[in-house]
């Protein structure tokens, strides 16, 4: 739908939604109304106070600033919008994101960008466990560290961690590229350290650049799938 939308919004038009007086449903309805025709480009959300489901299902090139801490599933299913959270977020930020950018100024709880197909998630603080679980093409850049089981069953896209990674990184990994600058507590099943070739340095450089972080790409280690769990091996039949 959004590809065919007409952009009518005048530059500088901005709407403020204060959740001290309006509901989360009011906010999401107002944002969804922009899907077919954008009349207001910039949005500001005040007093989020940990509410869940803020700015979910947005389908338009909106710029949304959430001032404060958000609850679960913030910016979930995002398409095209650039959503910045000036605080922490709960579980499942940008879950199933399709495109656009979600930027968390604070920390993120578990399952950040779970199953996300596209777009960029930037976390300036730390992310909890299962960051990028089953990610399907999105890119995630975390300035801090990520918790255990991050990138579990990651299928496509890239996870960049400027800090450390917790236990079982990349367990049952498919083709997500993982780059970690700090230490990795342990690797999950079928996840191995891999050679950093020029194409990977280029990808990493570009992602750090998009996130606005100045970490040296050469300081990172790449991890990927050993591709040993892709197919059923008849030798393992006895184990079932």
């Amino acid at each position: 739908m959004s590809n065919t939308s007409t952009v009518r919004a005048e530059k500088g038009t901005m709407k403020t939604i204060d959740l001290a007086s309006e509901t989360v449903t009011d906010l999401n309805h107002a944002l969804h109304e922009q899907a077919n025709e954008m009349t207001i480009e910039e949005w500001e959300v005040l007093n989020p106070k940990g509410h869940h489901n803020l700015a979910v299902g947005v389908d338009q090139k909106l710029k949304i600033d959430i001032h404060g801490h958000a609850g679960y599933y913030c910016a979930g299913m995002n398409k095209e919008a650039e959503i910045t959270i000036h605080g922490n977020v709960g579980q499942g930020v940008a879950e199933n994101m399709m495109s656009g950018k979600v930027h968390v100024k604070g920390d993120a709880s578990s399952a950040a960008a779970a199953t996300a197909h596209g777009g960029l998630l930037v976390i300036e603080g730390n992310a909890g466990s299962r960051c990028g679980i089953s990610m399907k093409g999105a890119n995630i850049v975390v300035k801090g560290s990520v918790g255990h089981m991050s990138c579990f069953m990651g299928q496509a896209g890239a996870l960049v961690v400027c800090g450390d990674a917790g236990d079982a990184l990349g367990d049952s990994l498919y083709e997500t590229h993982i780059y970690v600058k700090g230490s990795v507590k342990s690797l999950g099943a079928d996840c191995i350290e891999k050679e950093m070739r020029q194409e990977h340095l280029d990808e990493l450089t570009s992602l750090l650049d998009q996130a606005g972080f100045d970490d040296d790409p050469k300081a990172f280690t790449r991890y990927g799938s050993a591709r040993q769990l892709y197919n059923f091996k008849v030798d393992n039949a006895g184990a079932y």
Binding site: K49, G50, H69, G71, Y72, D107, S129
Partner: protein, 299 residues
């Protein structure tokens, strides 16, 4: 799903407002647990003897008569007050003596908690109703933990509500579900631990009681719990001097902690912390899996 909240005041000047600060935290977790709610408040400690929280189903139960018979039969003095269906008895004797007397002579009265400062209050119903029923917002004290329940493993009853007493001045609230509670209950019953319900969280409480009876410190008991309890849990454990938080190794059940110079607060979700003073500038983080956090004031 259930909700957990806890508030520990570092600043004694705020103790008069403990209930007022805590009531909105408990109510904020209604979405996570609308079935029943309860809390354990620590304050108004007795120097000698024991403080018991007692409950009788009948709100017009004659507590004065019970106090009188305790005084006569045990040759002691009882200082008491009533709050809805419960009464707090302060008795100048050892906990064991008073508990044994009540169990043998007044079995219709339930002992909700015993210790120097703990009071456990819980009922079936919306958290807001429980707050009103016990006038929680007027309560004073040093720290408090609470729970809002959405039952998964057993019936919605007062007895199945949290917190569960786990010994003198100790109690437990739980968010999650335990997979091995039936087997564990059988084993604990063999060791003499008594259970009132089919509730999985009561087994966790009974487990801690057992470990502490075996001479474990609270930390050691929780270390053992991490090994022996199979399932999902975030526990908050109230102690005489503070509270502890521990999450299982997978850490599926949420928990968030906020700390300022004045307090440490924990909740299942950040929403429950938003009414606290200075929360905007508090240090906010999620407790790590398999890690025991303890906040206690100097004894």
């Amino acid at each position: 799903m259930c909700g957990i909240v806890g508030l520990y005041l570092k600043n004694p000047a705020m103790e008069d407002k403990l209930g007022e600060l805590f009531a909105p935290m408990l109510i904020a977790m209604t979405d996570r647990g609308p079935d029943s709610a309860g809390f354990a408040v620590y304050g108004d400690a007795v120097d000698d003897g024991v403080k018991l929280t007692l409950r009788h189903e009948d709100e017009s139960f004659d507590w004065a008569a019970l106090a009188k018979s305790v005084e006569t039969d045990l040759s002691t003095k009882v200082d008491w007050f009533q709050n809805s269906k419960v009464a707090v008895f302060k008795v100048d004797l050892d906990a064991e003596i008073v508990e044994k007397y009540l169990e043998e002579n007044h079995a219709e009265v339930l002992i909700m908690s015993s210790g120097k400062s703990i009071e456990i209050l819980k009922e079936v119903g919306l958290p807001e109703r429980i707050v009103d029923m016990f006038k929680l917002d007027q309560m004073k004290g040093s720290h408090i933990i609470g729970h809002t329940r959405m039952a998964t493993e057993s019936a919605v009853t007062m007895a199945g509500s949290h917190p569960f007493s786990t010994g003198l001045d100790l109690c437990l609230v739980h968010n999650g579900s335990l997979s091995n509670h039936n087997r564990l209950r059988m084993e604990l019953e063999r060791d003499g631990i008594k259970f009132d319900t089919e509730n999985d969280s009561e087994v966790a409480a009974g487990y801690l009681t057992h470990r502490l009876q075996q001479g474990d410190s609270l930390n050691q008991a929780l270390e053992h719990a991490l090994k022996d309890l199979d399932g999902f849990f975030t526990f908050t454990i109230g102690t005489k001097d503070g509270f502890a938080v521990v999450r299982d190794p997978i850490a599926c059940k949420p928990a968030v902690i906020a700390e300022t110079d004045d307090y440490v607060a924990m909740a299942s979700e950040y929403q429950a912390l938003t009414t606290l003073p200075g929360i905007e500038n508090a240090k906010v983080w999620e407790p790590e899996p398999s890690t025991i956090y303890v906040w206690e004031r100097d004894k």
